[in-house]
Point group: C2
Amino acid sequence: MSLIFACQDVPPAPWIAALGKALPEAEIHVWPDHGKVEEVEFALIWGPYAREMKRFPNLKAMMSLGAGVDHILEQVDRPMHVPVVRLIDPGLKTGMVEYVLYNVLRYHRRMPDFEQQQKKALWIERSQATPSERRIGILGLGEIGLACAEALNRLGFDLIGWSRTKKEILDVGCFYGDETLKPFLSQSSILICLLPLTPETEGILNKATLAAMPAGSYLINVGRGGHLVEGDLLDALNSGHIAAATLDVFREEPLPKDHPFWRHPNVTVTPHIAALTLPQTAAPVIADIIERVRAGRKVPGMIDPAVGY
Amino acid sequence: MSLIFACQDVPPAPWIAALGKALPEAEIHVWPDHGKVEEVEFALIWGPYAREMKRFPNLKAMMSLGAGVDHILEQVDRPMHVPVVRLIDPGLKTGMVEYVLYNVLRYHRRMPDFEQQQKKALWIERSQATPSERRIGILGLGEIGLACAEALNRLGFDLIGWSRTKKEILDVGCFYGDETLKPFLSQSSILICLLPLTPETEGILNKATLAAMPAGSYLINVGRGGHLVEGDLLDALNSGHIAAATLDVFREEPLPKDHPFWRHPNVTVTPHIAALTLPQTAAPVIADIIERVRAGRKVPGMIDPAVGY
């Protein structure tokens, strides 16, 4: 049995080390090396490699290195009979919770105002809302959205969430379906996008939906760049309707040097680091997926290609 | 019965409103107004007013508007027979937990690096530690230190704490007493100072103790300005031994315009806003203190002037 590691811009060494420990019996190849084609049973993919997997006749699963699988599903010339699995990596969930908490607290506590004041040596206290006075909207209530909701809940924030299908979550005001999207957005003074990217969610953050948010509200996009119509956000920021935005994902990554987001005073850019899949926490999850697929057991994170997550 | 509100730089209107609701039977005066001296039974103090309270013969308690009481205890010409009480305000604890979480996550997730990168439109991922790989030291394990420890614990950080007297706290490696201070500091890659200011803790963050911290570590001071020898921190920052510091409290407040902290690239300054005592959460606590003092019951937050907290 061999596993192929086909991941763009990911240094393979720590992965080879961690996978070697978690899967001592497996042979591991780093793309474009692949050893004997008939021995490749599993692939770990990040980037446009799914179509290349057609050459492996015994491939049993394509695993995404992250929580998103859009980079695999968009390759419709991939081997369509091979199941696609996303990693439900506890390290990745931890990272996303940290990033979301950090950015919610940054806006909640008006830290951008204090950053500006420091530049001018200005000592001005600002009025402060309590967390229960701050309503936060979570767009996408999957594994990660739920973990973020729990962490924000413990800090006392007032939470609402939106999902495509009906969910019921303790202490979260749940909205579902297209017709509730605008009422949900109209109450979200800080909006966190944690949706998967599918044809239904592409461009979901656009002129009309941004306009539905309260005046002076904040956006945190940790979903995918494709969720956001970038020019519409710039307009909403420039009019002041959206006070500020933190963006970790972009339509083009790396974000081009001349993109206006880099220099906008009310945009915070991070280079797709909200949640890194860490070899030390992900390798045991990968080993578990492989064991389950081989035994024909239920696999957590198995994708339904019809819905896209 | 009347209550006097003697607080420097605190707009009284929201306090009058909140106290009026919580104590409908009390008369409230804003210093220097005080009505009939013999009717003043309680004082709410922030700033150098304790000595002025000698004129009220029936004063039963002096309450600090915040968690610190150093501004009262340092006035040794105050009416020494009157008990001093600090507010254990849930809103204040909430605020401090938010501020500490925000700043720990900022350093843990290397956000200052990403802030610098954005200025240059640089897209560079950075390696990321897991929270269990990050040991955080909490200096001071009182009510607020404990609340911060709990919140950081839930995020998976590796926690140690130091206090003057022995404490035992689940999932926190506890150090106590002077001789353990340096071993404690030597393991704190992010140090949070939450101590009360007393003669024993004055200047506790100095050349020797900062040198005991690991190279490249971070300091968050939310105790009092008097804990820190400011020149020693500047030296430790300039040598790179301390990577960065976030300071909310200073020896002189407001921090003077020409103070080097304002312009140091690795110092974050906030204007003593880590935990604001909010009228809406504090007024019921004040009402409870008054009721307990009048009934001769145990008062949470009562100060022992011999230890200073």
